[in-house]
Amino acid sequence: MIRHDYSRVDPKRRANIDHKKKQFAKAEFAQQHYDHRLNFYTLPPTAEITLEEFETWAINRLKVLSELEACSFRNKSPEETAEYMTSILNKYLPLRSNTSRSQALQEERKKDHYSHYILRLAFSSTEDLRRRFSRLETMLFRLRYKEDDFKEREQFVKSLNLEWEEVGEAEKRELRDQLLAATGGKKSAAGEEQEWCKVDWERVPELVEQRRVFLRRGKAYVPQSQQMSLVVAEFTKWLDDALELTARALPRLDEDDRLAPILAHLSQSFTAPEAAYTSSDASIDGLSAIHANAIDSLSENFPLCMRNLHMNLRANSHLKHYGRLQYTLFLKGIGLSLEECIVFWRRSFKLMTDDKFQKEYRYNIRHVYGDVGGDANRRGRGYTPYSCQKILTEPLPGPGQSHGCPYRTFTPENLSALLQRVGVQDRNVLKTVREDVQKQRYHVACNRVFEYGHQREIKKVRDEGSWSATDLDTIVHPNTYFKRSWLLKHLGEGNAGMVGDDEKMEE
């Protein structure tokens, strides 16, 4: 991991990681006292730590952030995430409340504080890293905020001195109906006692996007119950601004040759686990070269997202661009060759002239396959088929578009109708899927439908012990869905059925 020669530096050689020490001259080398468990990290560290601490603390925090990220990739619900993270946090980055009266309290908080700053340095170099770091730190903050002691949390929020304008009684009365309507509240006695504050709408973008606050003249009226949103948004804003500043200060930091390599290494070990696709998905034992005209029948084995695209394509003889992109990458992933893929699209766009197809569509397909465009390095493989994670984080489709994950993009009624169309008739399954979707566990719903559609086959391979547990692991990639589905539906046709024997799917 980390280069050891750096941690072997004489511990007497101390690293002061405060790059702003000149501005904070008075506070230099001072130990800070942490009144609160939660921290907005607005003050940079001022005391010295050893290089060894510097490294291990950073690595520990990195571990926590990576696990958090994995939770979001697996679409774990907030509750599941909290549960999963408990032991990890206890191990790597414990942070107890004041009431615990632990001896290590200050030490824990110092580690939390310093490790945050070290990673901030490591991840401020590119916009991408900054965004990712900010997203994960926000998740971590939210997690801790939720489980913080109520009283201590209140004190912490107070200490932030966030400029919240309280909504006075008169205004509350005047806007009563709108306030309640915006937050979905009932006109109950409890509603009337609710406290509200007014902030610039830009400070609560999430609440605005979901229309969960009342807006008037640029101000968002946030109820007490949504205070977390406000605090979290404030945290993100602080952090984003700080990262921006750090990025600009970075060149000066390069001068410290002891830290630079550690920082560089930290950011490298944080590379994106974006691709969840390996070439092994494209080669399926027993499935001979796929031809364009086989797609109709193979689509029985497609996950709902791709089936929906396929059905839309058949219904309209057209797909809009994100849909084509998502679908082409998937088809490439199941092993459709470039030539066959072009044939497939040409035939599918029945209403289009050859000329138009050649001019506007052919190139794009070739591009996806890496046949043209891009730089030479990329041409080898073209682009990677989208994972569930990718599909689930894309913008929602607009009218007439059909890309994305239907579990996420369809209304519950339409999702039910679609599932029934593809043969899911079991009322229980439909009901449970509906519940999954309501909890935004799209990907649990998809796996549930898979299991329902392959229950006999799954039972068979389980009973026979012919497939290992990993072969039946949760599906997080449309191409895995297809491959597993196809193999299960063709059991005993000469393929042994090993899904990912040597190449494991990354997540």
């Binding site: 501005q23 590119t126 916009e127 991408d128 709108q178 309640l180 309507a181 915006a182 979905g184 709408w201 830009e202 973008p205 999430e206 605005v208 996007e209 979901q210 229309r211 009342f214 807006l215 008037r216 003249r217 640029g218 994106a272 974006e274 929906n308 839309n312 219904a315 309209n316 809009k320 661009h321 994100y322 992109l325 138009k356 001019k359 506007e360 569509y361 190139y363 794009n364 591009h367 996806v368 465009g373 891009g374 730089d375 682009y383 913008p395 929602l396 489709p397 607009g398 009218p399 007439g400 578009q401 059909s402 239907p406 993009t409 369809f410 209304t411 009624e413 339409n414 109708a417 679609l418």
Partner: protein, 498 residues
Amino acid sequence: MPHSTAPDPMSAGDSQTMSETTIKPEPSTQDVAMEDAPSPAGDNKAKVELEELFDDNDSDQEFPSSVPAKSEEDLSQPTTFKISDTSTFSDPDVMRAFYQRLFPFRHFFQWLNHSAVPGPDFAHREFAFTLANGALLRYQSFPTADVFRKHCIKEVPPRFDIGPVYSTNPRDRKSLRKASAFRATSRELVFDIDMNDYDEIRTCCTGAKVCHKCWTFITMAIKVVDTALREDFSFKHILWVYSGRRGAHAWVSDKKAREMDDNRRRSLAGYLELVRGGDQGSKRVSIRRPLHPHLERSLNILKEHFQTTILAEQDPWAEKSEHLLNLIPDATLRAALQKKWDSSPSRPSASKWADIDSVAKSGALSKTSRELLEAKQDIVLEYTYPRLDADVSKKLNHLLKSPFVVHPATGRVCVPIDPKRVEEFDPLGVPTVTELLKEIDEWEGEEDEKKVHDWEKTSLKPYIDYYKTFVSGLLRDEKEQMSVKREREEQHGDAMDF
């Protein structure tokens, strides 16, 4: 008959992509292959490119015309060019005369510069020119209104788009040592409403056509969006512009709006977005109750349009009531209505709409009347609520066609629409470039005492007058804000210096 020679509008969009996909860029236009924004991460960059390549932009079927090669002389003097009956708007001489005599460069400059004194808001602003061969020439910039004007007169672009203001002059972007030093810093908050998104609910026209009946969809959308932007977000300087054929754009120039990052833009667009569809022919609107005040207000604006525009004019359910039936949540009621309508399928939509309540009252309702009311509200919203091309609004660096350019397929000028008089706006009455040039020739006023601008001699005058007022309002506010800021800085001089 100027329209008869209109070039066939091909499909393929407004965007940065077509040059790469449809033509071989000339050396000078190589830039078009670049992604639309600087993105420091290499991987990310490649993805952006890929998605753009795929973008045939189905929502906007406009395509620039094939204008013959341009002439090299710079005719910035008023020309001797005379419009004749055979002149068409795809003629470069016509376009040149348009840029020379009609395009309001001065106000246009001030609108983007936010001041009368040339500054980076204009100089670092990207313009993207559609060339006669269809290529898109990106990252063009101009220090002043005059240089910009000369360029347009010389090159006679059939169309140009406006991009963001960058941290440095976009023409210098390649000479920068660090790619990250070149980034988009501000641009108006923009909206794009295109009739294309209404195709499944409009019955009067299809494709690129538009008539007074379906234009009302755009009118409704402007009312709802404009009201929300002003009342909820407190924006003041909102310029609505006719897109030249069958849609409208909005440009919000308030400083606060210009400085919004993508995250804020996304959340604002999400706030306004309602009609989403991942699927065809089924329920598109699904909302919480109680209705959010913005939706309640919008519903009140739209209700009356629903009676006239939808039920009476579009009449979407005569002969086919399947979709309407699908939207009724109550099975008993649905069955009763189905029976009734099967026996008289051609019943007009207004009657069918009324049937819902009357049949429900006669006992065929198994759910509560509140549920039925809510379902009906959802239907009203599905048929009337603005359908925004939200992606356009979510990105700071999206290109959007400039106001006052000539739509290459219709010849109409992309004129501003006064939201206070949006009902009066007539897209079919918007003058075409050839008509305007004729009006100049036919003008018979006196010109001795005061110089009369050419545009004042034409029916473009009311639009430019409106624009002038709009721009001066913006500049006034901008100036005020600057002086408040300066005062504050003088008072707290030290505080900035930590």
